[in-house]
């Protein structure tokens, strides 16, 4: 029997980026807010101190900062005619755990989506005609535009102190930046990071081929920065331990380094860690959330009543909690009806490895940060003519090598034995003179009728709740795109002077054991009417208006860029709507 706790104005499920941003906005507005977080408290000096933060075995291979599959997992299959099995060791994506969420272990690439990404379907059909898109592709417009989000991208970048070079300042194209980006109202808060030799060589080669390389916008800061909340971040030391790791010296933008220190000083805010939300409770009409029920680490169950519920968990778990709570209609791939679980997407990542003459090239690959390097945007989104290519979508291409970590970042030319003296010699010969980028071609994953999430009929979690089931595979559109982008990247590696280039385009089927990125999207998407989406343009549930669902689960399809910048912008956008509209007049912000 759950113990009923005193009412709060708002309950937040999950204290990562979006939970922190929403909590700060609402506490600042005077609301009494509690955040319920499944994982532990996380703090720089105690959880990833500089004395052992760079432990590849501990964090990268043994997944110290991540959710344990024994606590919660998902099941996976490629298609509806297969039986899904549970994931027992994370592979294709990593699920953060604890305060800060994915914001602790990310690489901190801080992009804005292209203006056309938000109107993908109307733009592509207008340019190429109605018949151009594959029949089973279910991409759609977001219901929100780049111009709507621009002030909030700006807010997120200035919260983080993002380092970069503007490419489009108020409509004027800037040298050295990305000329394809949407207009930004002001420059990045800090200049772009310094670049390594390999990164710089890529930029030179890209220029020689007629491209316009720009430095990857980075949440690993080029210089110390104090954000508008008064929180100070340090300068990145290029240690090369970003993604999968916590930053030991306060130089990666995370909730811990940007917003939590201020939030914790607010007496309106409370957080309960190691507490797992079981469900969102509804009243007898089913149209109003009354709060949440959660279980603490001792197995005691509590009911936390609240006027406003903010679902701020990771994408998969947002969708799972909606399904477990009976909110909205589950998606049915046969009929295409129902919104919860629909338009599930990931990312299409590929690369090529370049081997260079060891006597001429020394890249010192260990000097790196999580979002260092130069990129080109000529083949991203719809920046290029797709009419003769047989696919839509695209991605950025870059020498964005983030590390030279000894266990992970090694490559030997094809034909080298897999172990023994010859393998060791090949490693020695190539470690300093090869270019290995896990995500050199970082590209879109569009949505399809048969890629979706639902509740697994067989496998349950420790409480007996069904696990979430992923049904996902690559479609020809994405595989063609990946081959195309990988060829373009390989050309630049050749131009850089590589003596051998080994292409690794993305191949199907989707492999849940092979790491791509943690950019899972969709499943509870936003849109302009309840017939095509779970949420309205303010991330408010169409079905339960006192519920807002944050994060990438709202993306109708995934664009070529890393998604976190847009997650942050949407959180600020939604927070503003809640503060300035919803609190004054609680109810639907968009009338269907």
């Amino acid at each position: 029997m759950a113990r009923r706790l005193p009412r709060k104005d708002a309950v937040i499920i999950g204290l990562g980026w979006t939970g922190s941003i929403l909590a700060h906005t609402l506490c600042d507005a005077g609301l009494d807010v509690v955040a319920i977080e499944r994982g532990p408290w996380r703090d720089t000096a105690t959880d990833f101190p500089i004395s052992y933060a760079q432990d590849e075995l501990r964090y990268r291979l043994q997944h110290e900062l991540f959710l344990r599959p024994a606590q919660m997992s998902v099941t996976f299959r490629n298609s509806a005619n297969q039986t899904a099995l549970p994931v027992r060791n994370w592979g294709a994506f990593m699920l953060g755990n604890g305060v800060g969420g994915g914001g602790v272990h990310w690489n901190a690439e801080t992009f804005r989506f292209l203006p056309t990404d938000f109107i993908a379907r109307s733009h592509l059909t207008q340019r190429y005609g109605e018949k151009f898109l594959p029949e089973d592709m279910t991409i759609q417009d977001w219901g929100v535009t780049y111009d709507d989000l621009e002030p909030h991208y700006d807010q997120f970048e200035h919260l983080c102190g993002t380092s970069g070079t503007a490419g489009n300042l108020q409509g004027k194209i800037q040298d050295g930046g990305n000329p394809f980006e949407g207009a930004r109202s002001r420059p990045y808060p800090t200049p772009a990071q310094k670049q390594g030799y390999g990164h710089t060589l890529f930029a030179e080669a890209a220029k020689q081929l007629g491209y316009k390389p720009y430095p990857q916008p980075s949440g690993n800061l080029s210089k110390s920065y104090t954000n508008p909340l008064g929180v100070t971040l340090g300068q990145c030391t290029f240690c090369g331990f970003c993604e999968w790791f916590g930053c030991a010296n306060y130089s990666k933008a995370t909730p811990q380094t940007t917003i939590l220190p201020v939030l914790l000083r607010n007496p309106n805010f409370e957080t309960r860690t190691e507490c797992e939300v079981m469900r969102i409770n509804l009243d007898n009409t089913g149209k109003r959330a009354t709060g949440v029920t959660y279980v603490n680490s001792s197995g005691e169950e509590f009911e936390q009543p609240a006027d406003l519920v903010l679902l701020c968990a990771f994408q998969l778990f947002n969708v799972q909690l909606l399904l477990l709570s009976g909110i909205g209609t589950p998606y049915d791939p046969q009929t295409g009806k129902g919104q919860i679980g629909r338009n599930f997407t990931h990312q299409t990542v590929s690369t090529a490895v370049g081997f260079f003459d060891k006597d001429k090239y020394n890249f010192n690959p260990f000097i790196a940060s999580g979002s260092i390097g130069f990129c080109i945007d000529e083949f991203n989104g719809d920046n290029f003519d797709h009419s003769q290519l047989g696919f839509v979508g695209g991605g950025y291409i870059g020498q964005v090598r983030t590390n030279g970590r000894p266990l992970e970042s090694m490559a030997v030319p094809p034909g080298t034995p897999a172990w023994g003296a010859k393998w060791k010699q090949a490693l020695r010969d190539n470690y300093l003179s090869s270019v290995i980028c896990g995500a050199a071609c970082h590209a879109s994953f569009y949505s399809y009728r048969d890629v979706y999430l639902d509740l697994d009929p067989t496998y349950k979690d420790r409480f007996g709740r069904p696990l979430l089931r992923m049904t996902i595979d690559f479609h020809d559109n994405e595989l063609k795109m990946s081959a195309f982008l990988t060829d373009k990247y390989a050309e630049i590696l050749q131009q850089m002077g590589a003596k051998q280039v080994v292409k690794q385009p993305r191949k199907g089927p989707y492999d849940v054991t092979d790491y791509q990125t943690s950019h899972l999207c969709g499943g509870a998407i936003m849109g302009d009417n309840p017939g095509n989406s779970a949420l309205n343009r303010y991330l408010q549930s169409w079905d339960v208006p006192n519920l807002f669902v944050q994060g990438a689960s709202a993306y109708p399809q995934n664009a070529g860029y890393n998604p976190t910048g847009t997650v942050g912008a949407l959180a600020f956008w939604s927070a503003k709507a809640i503060r300035s509209q919803y609190l004054k007049n609680p109810g639907p912000l968009v009338h269907a």
Partner: protein, 419 residues
């Protein structure tokens, strides 16, 4: 509405004490301005630091253990509860306790209660504090203050102690100094009781008045030299920087941590800018202080093995934040080059921070609260000694080297303290 006898008693007691005050001074203890002023002065005096048990939710209800070199004393309840607090005390009894160290019925307080400093507080200010304390929630919480071993548990022994070390008397302004200086002196020597931590003590716990504010080791930390000394003290700090440090908890090469973090967060960060500037002005006045005395401190020889090992450890473990050049990063990682804290005669605080880690104080103006992780598990006594000797004698720094035995002793003491 039925009223409990206790509540009635409490109200009567309040009425009595208020009546007495009126008769004595003509000051209305229920006047809003008087209570507001008293509230501010309890912040300046940091009364809560001892009299509020952290986490208890009961302000001024006592029970916090005050660590002294002689044992622990529990801070008493100073809420208006008539039975277990000070509700039944007359104003004169309150003033005597605060400024003379005498309890009710002629008992003697231990100087853990800084009456040796509060003696300088004016009668008006003491009454204002009383007026404020009368307004806080009365909490019934009996506290047995005496926890000291024989013979210190005999309070009469304090009569002798007071004869030796206590100079009673209200603050007398110096006519040759500015009003600001006098305000600063009044606060620092009186309510602020800076010297309670910062002035070295003799073997009986009395202030070594000849070494005033030159720093003192207590509770696992070394309260730094805050004289105008240029190497170890405030000599190179402009007045505004000292005032800012007390306000926001962060200076160029010193971040408030340990005991000072508590003082900043509860007391100085809530003081007015004018009072902080006054304190800074007073502390910066070199008169009677050992200015420049330590400028000629010689560096530990850089060809010593310790320095070489220390340099290597520094590059591996420290330079990521504090910089290869020891310049740190503004507001985040303190500069070590030129840091007075790094060059104190006593390395207790340095050993503490290195072995156990430390968190800098977060304030409204500077909320980051950056922290240094602990290295005690990673570095041996020899290695800690080497790296500390290195930072104390690199760049422009010069200070006595730190020995492994000293580190070992500190390590053991910190384990025993457990905080």
């Amino acid at each position: 509405m039925p009223r409990s006898p206790q509540a009635t008693l409490c109200v009567v007691a309040l009425a009595l004490s208020a009546g007495v005050a009126n008769a004595e001074s003509g000051i209305d203890p229920q006047d809003f301005k008087q209570i507001e002023r008293g509230s501010y002065l309890t912040i300046v005096g940091d009364c809560a630091a001892c009299h509020t048990l952290p986490g208890s939710g009961h302000a001024y209800a006592g029970g916090r253990a005050i660590e002294t070199p002689f044992g622990e004393i529990l801070a008493p309840n100073i809420t208006p509860d008539p039975l277990t607090g000070i509700g039944a005390w007359t104003d004169q009894e309150f003033i005597d306790a605060m400024t003379k160290g005498t309890g009710r019925n002629g008992t003697h307080l231990y100087p853990a209660m800084p009456y040796t400093y509060y003696t300088k507080v004016t009668r008006e200010d003491a009454l204002a504090i009383r007026a404020y304390l009368n307004t806080v929630s009365a909490v019934r919480n009996p506290v047995t203050a005496d926890q000291l071993p024989f013979p210190l548990n005999i309070r009469a022994s304090m009569i002798v102690w007071n004869e030796l070390f206590f100079a009673p008397g209200e603050f007398r302004p110096r006519t040759d100094k500015s009003e600001e200086w006098n305000r600063g002196a009044y606060l620092a020597e009186g309510l602020g009781h800076c010297g309670l931590c910062h002035t070295p003590k003799n073997f009986l716990g009395g202030d070594k008045t000849s070494e005033r504010l030159q720093g003192y080791a207590l509770q696992g930390w070394f309260a730094a030299d805050i004289t105008n000394d240029r190497r170890r003290g405030l000599g190179d700090w402009p007045v505004d920087e000292i005032a800012a440090y007390l306000k926001i908890g962060h200076g160029r090469n010193t971040f408030g941590t340990g005991l000072m973090a508590e003082t900043i967060s509860q007391s100085t960060s809530n003081m007015t800018d004018a009072d902080l500037k006054a304190i800074a002005t007073y502390l910066k006045d070199p008169a009677g202080q050992n200015a420049n005395e330590t400028q000629n401190q010689s560096k530990a020889a850089s060809d010593q093995v310790d320095m070489k090992i220390g340099a290597k450890i520094y590059m591996d473990e420290c330079s990521g934040c504090h910089g290869a050049d020891g310049k740190g990063s503004a507001d985040l990682f303190p500069a070590l080059d030129g840091s007075a804290i790094v060059q104190q005669t006593d390395a207790t605080s340095l050993m503490h921070v290195t072995l156990r880690g430390a968190r800098s104080v977060a304030t409204d103006k500077m909320p980051t609260g950056s922290a240094m992780p602990q290295f005690g598990w990673l570095l041996t006594d020899d290695q800690v000694a080497a790296v500390l000797t290195y930072i104390r004698n690199s760049w422009g720094n010069a200070a006595p080297s730190v020995g492994a035995a000293e580190v070992g002793k500190a390590r053991h003491a910190f384990v025993e303290r457990g905080d």
